[in-house]
């Protein structure tokens, strides 16, 4: 079974530029998550989708971050404009159901804003 695919693996941009990350979840997984992880810390949930609807985006900085999940499959996360403090690993995960089932993670995209 193919895992969660994310691209790119690494991205370096200057502050105030824009960037987009892509995620392809495991086939059949209804729930998709985007997390932001600072090195050595636990992942912070940015947005959770159930199919193509948003379940929770309470911690998404909506003035600069946006995400969509078209047709309930692939998802993109965009940052515009980027700030220095956005430097982090952005993890995408998917699960069959949102509660109590295993979340499968991609390898993440490491973003460096300079």
């Amino acid at each position: 079974e193919a895992g969660v695919a994310q691209s790119p693996r690494y991205k370096i941009i200057e502050k105030r530029q824009s960037v987009a990350f892509w995620c392809n979840p495991i086939s059949g997984h209804a729930t998709l998550y985007w997390y932001q992880q600072i090195l050595g810390q636990g992942p912070k949930l940015l947005i959770q989708f159930q199919n193509n609807g948003v379940v929770d985006d309470s911690q998404l900085p909506k003035d600069r971050f946006s995400a969509e999940r078209l047709k309930g499959v692939d998802s993109t996360l965009k940052i515009q404009p980027a700030k220095l403090e956005d430097s982090a690993v952005y993890l995408c995960a998917s699960s069959v159901h949102p509660v109590g089932t295993e979340a499968f993670f991609g390898q993440g995209t490491r973003l460096t804003v300079v």
């Binding site: 810390q41 992942p43 379940v55 509660v99 109590g100 979340a103 993670f105 390898q107």
Partner: protein, 111 residues
């Protein structure tokens, strides 16, 4: 916001020692999971506990869910260098609510 505090934040031990990692919250969770993450990779699930007081064993790892379903612990017996990694607890609540991760415990096991 549901906060999951893990302790200790960092742990460096010798191979063969035992250790316990704690995960505490003021919120009640319908289920709690433990993940391990290695550098450059996403977290990988170790176990899910759903019943208050539940104890699960996975080889040298023992997981316990608190009676009130607000806290959990992970105990490793006779740690090995391969246990090195970032250990994360994650709680979820009913009704399709979000999966919230703890603050993380960075474990380093040395020879």
């Amino acid at each position: 916001t549901q906060l999951l505090e893990q302790s200790p934040q960092f742990l460096s031990i010798q191979e063969g020692e035992n250790l316990t990692v704690y995960c505490n919250s003021s919120s009640v969770f319908s289920s709690l999971q433990w993940y391990r993450q290695e550098p450059g990779e996403g977290p990988v699930l170790l176990v899910t506990v759903v019943t208050g007081g539940e104890v699960k064993k996975l080889k040298r790892l023992t997981f316990q869910f608190g009676d009130a379903r607000k806290d959990s612990s992970l105990h490793i017996t006779a740690a090995q260098t391969g246990d090195t990694g970032l250990y994360l607890c994650a709680g979820s609540t009913g009704g399709g609510n979000k999966l919230t991760f703890g603050t993380g415990t960075q474990l380093k096991v040395e020879l």
